[in-house]
């Protein structure tokens, strides 16, 4: 029986892999079936994961269960639970309350209240990231670009010196001209436009290198699937 399921698993995975690959030819019922299975199963899977990780794992364990037990004990006159320890965090009720407000979309008359938690998320995200981005993308970057363009510390030989000078120039020019390109308050004309163009060259060279690197890593993913089909499934690769 175990061998049967092992074979079934192999054939099913191969069937679904080929179904997704069939999209390379054109949209077809096999791809549609595979797509529907993928979307349906993954949506259900993520619902379960988020429920157990967030609702149960964080809110229920962290505050909900204790609070409800406490309320029930107060209402029924039963023995109240012991005082909360450090694992109980009543701030989680704020998140739960905001989550509850989201569900008010299901009640058309007061559905507008569901915009409040959205506003909270958008506002707090903007505020939190503002300083993070400012610190990492502006302050640290500016500090790291203050490099000597030539120095006796680079080395005495021409090779060492030339390498270091070119490296320092690339860092300085690349960062500065990139900043000029992303400066929106001045038209890209004259010297400013020329510097911005240098910035674009730096960006495109970086993107080109990144493109090649990422394509190679994607090839390894393709090789992994082909290895599965030809090796695990068909046994053609030993």
């Amino acid at each position: 029986m175990e061998a049967f399921f092992e074979h079934f698993r192999l054939w099913l995975a191969a069937f679904l892999t080929l179904g997704i690959f069939s999209f390379l030819y054109k949209d077809n019922p096999w791809y549609k079936l595979t797509e529907a299975i993928f979307v349906g199963i993954s949506a259900g899977y993520w619902f379960v994961v988020l429920f157990w990780d967030n609702f149960h794992g964080k809110f229920w364990v962290g505050a909900g269960e204790y609070s409800i037990n406490w309320v029930v004990a107060k209402l029924t006159g039963a023995q109240a639970p012991p005082p909360p320890d450090s694992s109980i965090d009543f701030m989680l009720w704020v998140g739960a309350f905001l989550g509850l407000l989201m569900l008010l979309r299901l009640v058309p008359k007061i559905g507008w209240i569901s915009r409040w938690p959205l506003a909270f998320i958008v506002g707090s995200t903007g505020g939190l990231w503002l300083i993070n981005y400012f610190a990492s993308n502006v302050m640290v970057q500016a500090q790291a670009t203050m490099v000597p363009l030539f120095s006796s510390a680079f080395g005495t030989g021409f090779d060492q010196n030339a390498d270091a000078v070119i490296g320092a120039l690339i860092i300085f020019l690349g960062t500065f001209s990139g900043l000029v390109y992303f400066f929106f308050s001045k038209a890209h004309t004259g010297v400013f436009g020329g510097t911005a163009r240098v910035g674009v060259f730096f960006l495109m060279i970086t993107f080109g290198a990144s493109f090649g690197y990422t394509v190679m890593s994607r090839m390894s993913l393709l090789i992994g699937r082909i290895d599965y089909l030809l090796g695990d499934w068909l046994g053609m690769i030993k």
């Binding site: 979307v39 949506a43 899977y45 981005y133 400066f183």
Partner: protein, 404 residues
């Protein structure tokens, strides 16, 4: 003979043969490696934290300084509220400064410490530090310059917003990808095909998603004006909700609330490639005339952009993720690179609030550019001709831009 036997019996207790305990034999065989204790053990509250950390420093044992390998490690002992000592860490010798950061402490507890130098079979403890509690500081003065520069940028934003509201015309340079938005929506209208808007695969806690939704507001408004169809598949439930609100508001602003439908914005799955499979399916079946790929993208960027290219759609891509930008540049007609994505909403809307914010950010960039030029020139002159004044400028600038 008798005298020899007597002498042997007399020495027997000291010979080891009379010992029953094997450990005792070892103790007699192994010499104790006595080491001096560390000195000047100082515990200080860690500055500018939430009151959770105490920093310890000490001067190493004299034996550690004189004989390499004699002291094997330093043991940190913590005493909480006059309780018993707890071993909290072993710090190896010879790997750097003699210090230890004791973290995850409580402000309402009293701590004292001692450090012991450890040899192979001996432990020499220092004196105990004075009892203390970690303190919480409300301001991190290490980041005062960050605060000041953020204040200058924030103040500039407010100034520019006020100026724009008073009617001052604020200049923003042309952004090619955004000039094409109206044209792309018009093309979809003429062809009678829908517009697909993909807001990336991250949730609302990513600024790129927020930027995408801001652009969606403007695009939806044009779509509502032209009476074209929009379809927006999402991979996060919150993005779906926010997307619906945005599109609905745009249709209301255009005076066509009756044309809006919740079906315009739908959720598929949180699973990255499940979502991609679904969006690819939508692309080849619905054949949208225009595809917007704006937001946070990962490995799916090329799959989506290539499928859009394959169906012949005009594509406007944009992300702040450097690793994905090459794919959009290769497969899309227009690409919003990094900050252009965030500038897009201000550019498109022309609203004083957003334009002011864009101009304020430019002030930040101008500060950075000036600092980079001054810093690089100063450090170069300082190093090449050893000019002390230039070294001072660099040290000061490094301090200003430090974000410790």
């Amino acid at each position: 003979m008798t005298s020899k036997l007597f002498l042997a019996l007399l020495l027997l207790p000291f010979s080891g043969l009379a010992q029953d305990d094997p450990a005792g034999v070892d103790m007699l065989d192994t010499a104790v490696v006595v080491v001096a204790p560390p000195t000047s053990v100082i515990a200080v509250d860690h500055k500018y934290d939430k009151g959770e950390r105490i920093d310890l420093t000490w001067v190493p044992s004299i034996d550690d300084q004189l004989v390499e390998g004699k002291v094997l490690a330093y043991r940190i002992y913590r005493i909480v509220n006059d309780g018993g000592p707890q071993l909290v860490a072993d710090v190896a010798t010879g790997v750097g400064p003699y210090q230890y950061a004791d973290e995850d402490l409580h402000r309402d507890s009293i701590y004292s410490y001692y450090v012991a130098a450890v040899s192979s079979n001996y432990e020499a403890a220092s004196t105990r530090t004075a009892p203390m509690s970690p303190q919480r500081e409300w301001m991190n003065l290490d980041r005062k310059w960050l605060f000041l520069i953020a204040l200058i940028v924030g103040g500039s934003v407010l100034l520019f917003i006020t100026a724009a509201r008073r009617g001052t015309k604020l200049f923003v340079r042309k952004i090619a990808g955004l000039e094409a938005v109206d044209e792309a929506v018009g093309r979809a209208t003429e062809m009678g095909r829908p517009i697909l808007f993909v807001p990336g695969i991250r949730d609302m806690d990513d600024v790129q998603t927020l930027a995408a939704l801001t652009i969606l507001g403007r695009v939806s408004r044009v779509i509502a004006d032209y009476d074209t169809r929009i379809f927006m598949p999402t991979s996060r439930s919150l993005v779906m909700t926010a997307g619906r609100e945005t599109v609905k508001a745009a249709y209301q602003a255009a005076g066509r609330p009756d044309k809006y439908s919740d079906d315009m914005v739908t959720y598929y799955t949180d699973e990255q490639f499940g979502y991609v499979a679904a969006v690819d399916g939508v692309m080849v079946r619905e054949k949208p005339a225009t595809v917007f790929l704006l937001g946070a993208f990962f490995a799916e960027s090329l799959i989506l952009a290539e499928t859009g290219n394959y169906i012949g759609a005009i594509q406007i891509g944009g992300t702040a993720r450097p690793a994905q930008l090459p794919f959009f540049i290769a497969a899309c007609d227009f690409t919003l690179i990094g900050e252009e994505l965030f500038a897009a909403s201000a550019y498109l809307s022309g609203e004083p609030m957003q334009l002011g914010s864009l101009k304020g950010q430019d002030v930040g960039k101008a500060i950075a550019m000036i600092a980079i030029i001054v810093g690089a020139v100063a450090i170069t002159i300082g190093e090449a001709w050893d000019v002390e004044f230039m070294h001072d400028i660099v040290t000061w600038l490094s301090g200003v831009f430090s974000t410790r």
